[in-house]
């Protein structure tokens, strides 16, 4: 038993010999928990996950003997945890509407009995990651019970099919040194250590989010890493919630790191009402929330992203495709900065410690598609929001992140101000996965995808150039063909890139619908171009009612109603025919 020597904000100096760096400590009469971040002789420096006001020098402190760990087992899905995996619903039962300090609750409910179906056989040799059996946790998710990753030995016995609580012994393993280890439905894993796997796999399929600007233009593969940087008000949170709602992952881990309380409430209230478009089950059944809102203690904020990624890896190890959304990694970096400042470490850029870049890189490296220890395939796709101060993408967190990730969805203040949502900037954004995604799209949707995508981007880039000229000398200075390019780009922006999250039909677009719309708008462009090249003034083509109609198609036909959309697309040439006859004839006469 040690004691408190000094309290300085969240940092507490303890007289506590023989503790490991990273070990959990419990201090004071309130029983506040924290972790050791430094040792000096017989003293240990610890940062506490909770507010330290009221602690006194002289109060007791003890080392708990383990690093910050999470409990992994049935009962995770649909839950909301704080930054150190305390279940917030249970905390509410204990301490009311506000989070009192020192509340200790097990992460997984101990009372619930889960129906366990064994799969392994007694007498066999087991290795870490092997499947012991399964629990049907929700209608859509089978929770595979895994042997803890570092365990290896002979399975002496395994419980028969039946109902068990998470901490009941369901099996015993004889280790190589003769010791006998008990197995339960859950095990613990330290959050700062990546969970092991057999090997990394190539990512093969794109993550479908139902958002056209993402899927069609800047694809992200399952197992990939993406960043969403944007100034405030650019719609970062909305876009992330859209991804969490609609993406075709089997498990979604949503980490609210230093963000607004009401946003998590929104997710909590809204998600249960929504159904997963891929399974038809309530979305909450595949979702886990980790919440450290901006008014919750900052040290736990630093821990929250690690808690989230460990939960994601655990489901990956069961063979699932997992998406983890971290909103926002900037708050995490700021928490890092706050702690390093208190430790008196030398700041480098904007007060951030020198190890910011390496920490960020190590964190993002935990994403990936892998072959699990049991030989399955699973993936963790990591999507991190970045909140650059003043919207300046050259600041340290954004610029470091940009070097690490493959897909960059840059949000623009200008687009958001004009209420062009999602405000993903088509010129600033990039994706390193277009080639791999193209293979999938060619097979699953249409071989023309890659060409169509490139044509649309060319059109958008050309219009940006022309817009600069227009801003200098006015639209009259442009040729008919150039004006038609401007109009086609505007058609693409309004009819394809803009997508209303609040519109029932438009909120989600299947890859087929995305491609149909893209192809349709490009067809309109080509038809118009033909006319203009025949000598029709752009003004006349722009006045075609078809152009206003096509802008509404996205919200008139759902992904399950593509036939009607395709009929309209087939009728595109008809709309141009009267004009075409005029000018083709005119050209013929001339």
């Amino acid at each position: 038993m040690g004691r408190i020597l000094e309290i300085n904000g969240p940092l507490v100096k303890l007289e506590l010999p023989q503790t490991l760096i990273g070990e959990q400590v419990r201090v004071g009469r309130m029983g506040l928990v924290g972790e050791v971040i430094g040792r000096d002789g017989g003293t240990a420096l610890a940062q506490l996950y909770e507010d330290t006001a009221g602690l006194r020098p002289g109060e007791a402190a003890e080392g708990l003997g383990w690093p910050l760990s999470v409990e992994l087992g049935p009962g995770l899905l649909g839950a909301i945890f704080d930054g150190v995996q305390r279940p917030l619903h249970a905390v509410r039962t204990l301490s009311g509407d506000r989070i009192a300090r020192g509340v200790a609750v097990p992460s997984l409910v101990r009372e619930t009995r889960w129906h366990f179906v064994p799969a392994a056989q007694a007498g066999r040799t087991l290795a870490g990651g092997d499947v012991l059996g399964s629990v049907q946790e929700t209608a859509s998710i089978t929770h595979r019970i895994l042997v803890p990753p570092l365990l290896h030995g002979e399975l002496l016995e395994l419980a028969p099919e039946g109902d068990y609580t998470v901490d009941e012994t369901i099996g015993r393993v004889k280790l190589a040194d003769g010791r006998i280890e008990k197995l339960a439905l859950f095990h613990r894993w330290p959050v700062r250590t990546p969970r092991p796997f057999r090997q990394r796999d190539h990512a093969v399929a794109p993550l479908i989010t139902g958002q056209r600007i993402l899927d069609t233009f800047y694809p992200l593969l399952k197992g990939g890493k993406a960043a969403i940087p944007g100034p405030f008000g650019a719609g970062k949170t909305m876009l992330q919630q859209q991804i969490a709602r609609w993406c075709n992952a089997e498990i979604v881990v949503y980490v609210g790191c230093g963000e607004r309380g009401n946003e998590l409430t929104d997710v909590l209230e809204f998600m249960p009402e929504l159904t997963d478009p891929h399974t038809g089950r309530p979305l909450m059944e595949r979702t886990l929330l980790v919440a450290n809102t901006s008014n919750m203690p900052v040290v736990a904020r630093e821990a929250s992203v690690y808690v989230g990624i460990t939960l994601a890896e655990y489901f990956r190890d069961q063979g699932y495709d997992v998406v983890m959304v971290a909103d926002s990694t900037s708050r995490w970096a700021e928490a890092l900065r706050e702690v390093s400042g208190r430790l008196g470490q030398m700041p480098v850029e904007e007060g951030y410690p020198a190890y910011l870049g390496s920490r960020l890189a190590a964190f993002y490296e935990r994403a990936g598609r892998v072959e699990t220890l049991a030989g399955d395939h699973g993936s963790v796709t990591l999507i991190g929001a970045v909140s650059p101060p003043g919207g300046d993408f050259s600041e340290p967190v954004t610029s470091h992140t940009k070097e690490i990730i493959q897909t960059f969805w840059a949000l623009s203040k200008e687009l958001a101000d004009a209420r062009h949502y999602p405000a993903v900037d088509w010129l600033e954004s990039f994706s390193g996965d277009v080639k791999s995604a193209a293979k999938w799209w060619a097979q699953a949707v249409d071989p023309e995808w890659e060409h169509a995508r490139a044509a649309a981007l060319d059109l958008l880039a050309a219009s940006e150039e022309l817009q600069r000229i227009v801003n200098l000398v006015g639209v009259e200075a442009l040729s008919s063909e150039q004006r038609w390019t401007l109009e086609s780009a505007s058609l693409l922006k309004e009819g394809l890139l803009q997508q209303a999250a609040t519109d029932e039909i438009d909120s989600f677009a299947s890859p087929q619908k995305q491609f149909a719309l893209l192809a349709a708008l490009l067809e309109i462009h080509r038809q118009g171009l033909k006319l203009v090249q025949l000598g029709a003034p752009a003004r006349r083509v722009i006045q075609l009612p078809l152009l206003a109609q096509a802008r509404r198609w996205k919200s008139q036909h759902g992904s399950d109603d593509l036939e009607a959309l395709k009929a309209k697309i087939a009728a595109i040439p008809e709309a141009f025919e009267p004009l075409l006859e005029d000018y083709a004839a005119g050209a013929g006469r001339g």
Binding site: A60, H89, G96, N262, T265, V298, E334, D417, A418, E476
Partner: protein, 489 residues
């Protein structure tokens, strides 16, 4: 400045610290003991030696040689040295003749129904020459973080009677929506107008209250609000916390916390719907920077400490609604952007925490438009859930979106016209220009006493949208066009 102290202090004795040979009795006695062991003092900080076992965050009272009392707070505590931050500063302090008492509790605010109609200073003491509030209910002004699982999502539309807000950046009950302004802009008048006119649709205003906190504000500003509350006859529903420009700077760190403690009491104990107006958050952040520099904290941007975000969040996040409670806290902080710069750390970090922002612009103000709300950078994040069918009117979401799109395009045209001249514009561009002018004059602009219903606001919006050809309005549905557009209806 998170310094909440654990619930009931000292309840149940203290086994662990007893091992140090000091039990509960010793600490209780400590409240009444004056120590004269100041070892050093500099820049607002005093180090006390030989006072073991002082609780972190505890309140401190200092008595100087002239008998004047100062207050402070423990910011670092070790057995051999206790670091105390003195709110009134360390000027004219003599180490040998300074007596210090450790009050062994955080800052607390006594609360009862009697706070309504009262005026307090930044630390919660009466400044209206009336007796102090006496109550057994004394709460730590730092509060405790609200459990996200206990929050109820704000969905009730508040009608402010201001078109630029109601129509395009709607406020909902429980939201935190700051006014971003600049020196010389009428943010106070706008805030006062919101306080006067805010009401819920279809509900007679039941139990409502206003909590007004001013920090670093001028005497004139404070008087303006006081008179405005008086005129609208709500003074007995208002609680004021004033720390004016010439009053102790460090006390500004307590002011919003004291005010929000009162607001939480009114909202969640007395079931009131509380509107909190705070001005000026920039003065608050500057006070925080001043203290951070004294403490020697590592600066992040523009000298502000790295914890500015967390600190502001502790204040802003106290707005909201709680499940199964009737009251609510809606927050309108006023913030003047230094040099009108929205990327300055204070508005920037605020924007990342609050649920949108109402931005006032100098250009509109110079043209005589009141309220000069610059609608494009303004935003209400909770709007989508509080408007439309069943809340305001079914066309509201689309109309708002269309106004944004049409006005954004019209502004592009205006920029173009400035370069090439209006004569060179096409017909549709000229219509857009007229729309922009009318929109600013008639929709954004309105009287300081003009209270427009949401229906008036939406009808006005359609009048203006009817200046534009229907085929250019693609954010509204064809049905809505048929129903409301003057050309097609």
């Amino acid at each position: 400045m998170r310094q909440g102290q654990g619930g009931d202090e000292d309840a149940g004795g203290s086994g662990e610290s007893g091992s140090m040979g000091r039990g509960k009795g010793w600490r209780h006695a400590m409240k009444h003991v004056e120590f004269r062991t100041a070892a050093s003092a500099q820049g607002g900080l005093v180090v006390m030696a030989g006072v073991p076992g002082v609780a972190a965050g505890s309140r401190v009272q200092l008595r100087d040689h002239a008998g004047r009392l100062r207050s402070g707070q423990v910011i670092r505590s070790a057995d051999d040295a206790v670091l105390v931050e003195v709110f009134e500063g360390t000027d004219a302090l003599d180490l040998e003749r300074t007596w210090v008492r450790f009050l062994d509790e955080p800052f607390r605010l006594p609360l009862s129904r009697d706070i309504l109609g009262r005026v307090f200073n930044g630390a919660g003491l009466p400044r209206d020459k009336r007796p102090p509030i006496v109550s057994a209910d004394r709460r730590d002004i730092n509060g405790e973080p609200l459990n996200p699982a206990a929050r109820a999502y704000p969905r009730e539309f508040i009608q402010t009677g201001i078109s630029a807000i109601d129509g395009m950046n709607s406020l909902t009950r429980g939201q935190k929506l700051p006014i971003f302004s600049g020196g010389g802009l009428p943010h106070n008048r706008v805030a006062a107008q919101i306080v006067r006119q805010a009401r819920l649709l279809g509900e007679a205003s039941t139990e409502f209250a206003v909590v007004f906190a001013a920090f670093g504000a001028s005497h004139a500003d404070a008087r303006f609000f006081q008179e405005s509350f008086e005129e609208s006859g709500v003074l007995d529903k208002v609680v004021m916390f004033l720390n004016l420009a010439d009053e102790p700077v460090i006390e500004r760190l307590l002011t919003p916390r004291a005010a929000l403690t009162a607001a939480e009491y009114l909202a969640f104990d007395l079931d009131h719907h509380v509107l909190v107006v705070m001005t000026d958050m920039t003065a608050y952040a500057e006070a925080l920077r001043e203290v951070a520099v004294l403490r020697g904290d590592v600066p992040a941007r523009k000298g502000y400490p790295g914890y500015l975000y967390s600190d502001l969040a502790e204040i802003y996040e106290r707005a909201g609604r709680i499940r199964n409670r009737r009251g609510s806290i809606t927050m309108i902080p006023v913030l003047s952007m230094p040099s009108d710069d929205i990327t300055h750390p204070i508005p920037d970090l605020t924007g990342y925490i609050t649920e949108g922002q109402i931005v006032l612009g100098r250009e509109l103000a110079n043209q005589g438009v009141y309220p000069p709300v610059t609608v494009l950078p303004s935003l209400s994040r909770l709007m989508k859930d509080g408007i439309g069918k069943n809340f305001t009117r079914e066309d509201h979401p689309h109309v708002a979106s269309q106004l944004f799109a049409s006005y954004a395009r019209a502004l592009e045209v205006r920029g173009l016209a400035a370069i090439i001249g209006a004569e060179e514009l096409s017909d549709s561009d000229r219509r857009a220009l007229d729309f922009a002018d009318a929109f600013e004059r008639r929709f954004i602009g309105q009287g300081e006493d003009e209270d427009r219903s949401i229906h008036e606001t939406l009808n006005l919006a359609w009048d203006l949208l009817s200046m534009l050809p229907p085929e250019s309005l693609i954010r509204v549905t064809e049905e809505e066009l048929a129903k409301y557009h003057k050309d097609t209806a």
